[in-house]
């Protein structure tokens, strides 16, 4: 049975519960591996949860199922997020998350499609996922395959020139079976995105590049689902959702803290954060 036939989660409250589980598993994974990216995994957790569990058609038992929707985590350092989701979706046994970043684990530091079925393409060098998503969307269109492509990028990531090459391509080829999401958490490694290399006005830039742009609160599950629905109805142009988020979302320990980009929680921080997430 695949999740297309199983049906998607339509209840927003239910999705919120799943997102909590995802956040806890991200933190569990990171705490016990002692290395990995905390802030950017947590900020995109609601978006990715909604994409996988309310929208995407996939079959975890048959990751190459032809009609599956495709997902690309362009900001590959958010690997713990995608692993937590895949574990929840049944791509691999839950215990596997304990092998994050260990020798010979399918859960590499950044997603590797050769080691983990269900990952469409390897990422980790920023700026490349949107081009690959375009290619997949074009290929699906050539085959009259109704599947859709989802791609999550970081706001810092869009400083990469290749993103704008791909932005032009998607509009030029009227790629409407693609929905991109920018995890607009305002931070990158060296500080606030605005200070390091300003990318604003994001909305106007993408609009000028020919995209349908939807701005939302990236932690408002209802808004996320609505935006994903809207994206499906837009024809003749690609859609990008600018999801305004908080880096490290879930616990005050990490929220808005640039230092938690690539730092993992201590055991104590983990326990405190889990409480906070469960109460939140």
């Amino acid at each position: 049975m695949n999740s297309a036939t199983k049906g998607k989660i339509t209840d927003v409250e239910e999705l919120r519960k799943v997102a909590k589980k995802i956040r806890i598993n991200i933190l569990h994974m990171l705490t016990q591996s002692g290395s990995g990216h905390t802030g950017g995994s947590l900020s995109a957790a609601d978006i990715a949860t909604a994409i996988y569990f309310s929208k995407m058609k996939f079959d975890a038992a048959n990751p190459k199922w032809d009609e599956r929707d495709r997902f690309v985590m362009s900001k590959g350092h958010a690997a713990p997020l995608i692993y937590a989701i895949m574990a929840e979706a049944g791509y691999f046994p839950k215990e596997t998350i304990d092998t994050l970043r260990k020798v010979e684990s399918p859960l590499q530091g950044h997603p590797c499609c050769q080691k983990l079925p269900g990952i469409e393409v390897s990422t980790g060098s920023l700026g490349q996922g949107l081009s690959v998503s375009n290619g997949m969307a074009l290929g699906l269109r050539l085959d009259n395959n109704p599947a859709r492509v989802y791609c999550i990028m970081g706001d810092g990531e869009i400083q990469e020139g290749q993103i704008w090459e791909a932005a032009m391509t998607a509009a030029h080829y009227k790629i409407d079976n693609l929905c991109a999401v920018i995890d607009n958490n305002g931070l990158q490694i060296d500080g606030p995105v605005e200070k390091i290399m300003n990318i604003h006005p994001i909305h106007d830039k993408w609009e000028a590049f020919g995209w349908h742009v939807i701005d939302i609160d990236g932690h408002d599950m209802e808004a996320i689902v609505k935006a994903l629905d809207e994206a499906e109805t837009v024809k003749g142009k690609p859609t990008v959702i600018v999801a305004n988020t908080t880096k490290g979302k879930g616990s005050v320990i990490f929220e808005g803290k640039v230092e938690f980009h690539g730092v993992t929680p201590t055991e104590d921080e983990f326990n405190m954060a889990v409480k906070e997430i469960n109460n939140g």
């Binding site: 499609c113 060098s125 969307a137 290929g139 050539l142 791909a166 080829y173």
Partner: protein, 326 residues
């Protein structure tokens, strides 16, 4: 056969034998492939007239994607297309294809092991007048260093046609380097390229020249001159640079006193590098590398440049004689 028919056939045969650029053969082979297989898609970055992918584009506009002057995006898009079962051929000049988009090739083609065929044209100094910015002399080295990548440099039109068919039939990343300038036919008409297999014209007892691309022709001419002077020089066309034909190299090294490599590329990291790496570990013999000696190219006609950089048959003869201390 009547006299007239025979005359026509001879004419066709000789016109077939006219020098032809490997990029020209690529464009034709691609068009033929496109007719046979609808999973073939082609990408270019605003150089389709020069890379000759325009022929395919004209016939199959729905399966052709011009990405504009955006090589990195072209590679990523090609990877994406391959992930939906298409067999993408992505082309631009060798400098831009490999240099500008190296990290993209590394991540989304090689590390992801996608079925992307990179066929670059304008490899080497015979790009000519455009000068150093457009003359790829490091592309073989930087493609060869990537795991999963196969690297092929055809010597003439016949070989190019066979190579293109072969890479379309095999799964995995390929880099094929074609040239801008017209080159003479060196391979037999019935030749078929096999990955990892070199073509031995002759195995020499004194020296063996292991050449690739346009240097195969120069090697054949050099071998003829040397033979006239009593030196038994062999010529091996190593179109398959990765994987190398190790068996033939071993034989050549065991049977002769000197191995000479010849390529339209820097002597660092390309065919010469690959041959030295293999022989140093497996059958250490004297090796002389002919190619561009750690420098950039410059403007000029291709024949002038080949002379300037010491890549002619005459130069090869001199190098071999002095290396053999004759």
């Amino acid at each position: 056969m009547g006299e007239r028919a025979e005359a026509v056939e001879t004419m066709n045969a000789t016109s077939e034998k006219k020098p032809k650029a490997t990029r020209e053969a690529y464009g034709e082979a691609l068009l033929e492939l496109g007719k046979k297989r609808d999973d073939i898609v082609v990408l270019d970055a605003d150089l389709s007239g020069s890379t000759k992918t325009a022929k395919f584009a004209k016939e199959f506009p729905d399966r052709f994607f011009n990405l504009g002057i955006a090589e990195q995006d072209m590679i990523g898009t090609a990877a994406g297309l391959s992930l939906t079962g298409k067999v993408p051929f992505a082309s631009t000049f060798a400098v831009f294809e490999t240099g500008r988009a190296w990290d993209q090739i590394r991540l989304t083609v090689c590390y992801s092991n996608t079925n992307v065929k990179l066929v670059a044209t304008h490899g080497g100094i015979t790009v000519g007048e455009d000068g150093a910015s457009h003359q790829a002399l490091e592309d073989i080295a930087i493609m060869r260093a990537l795991p999963n990548m196969n690297v092929i440099v055809p010597a003439d039109a016949v070989e190019t046609t066979s190579v293109i068919q072969s890479v379309a039939d095999q799964i995995g990343p390929f880099y094929v380097r074609c040239g801008r300038a017209k080159v003479p036919h060196v391979m037999p008409d019935d030749y078929e390229f096999v990955l990892g297999k070199a073509y031995t014209f002759h195995m020499g007892r004194d020296v063996n020249i292991v050449a690739t691309g346009i240097m195969v022709d120069a090697a054949l001419k050099a071998a003829e001159t040397l033979s006239d002077q009593g030196i038994d020089a062999g010529v091996i066309n190593m179109a398959s640079i990765k994987p190398l034909d190790e068996a033939v190299l071993l034989e050549a090294a065991q049977k002769s006193k000197l191995i000479v490599t010849a390529e339209e590329h820097s002597i660092i990291g390309g065919l010469g590098g690959a041959v030295c790496e293999f022989l140093a570990e497996n059958c250490p013999v004297p090796v002389k590398r002919i190619g561009v000696n750690d420098s950039f190219g410059c403007s000029g006609s291709s024949s002038e440049l080949l002379k300037l950089y010491g890549m002619t048959a005459e130069h090869m003869v001199e190098t071999i004689k002095s290396s053999l201390s004759i």
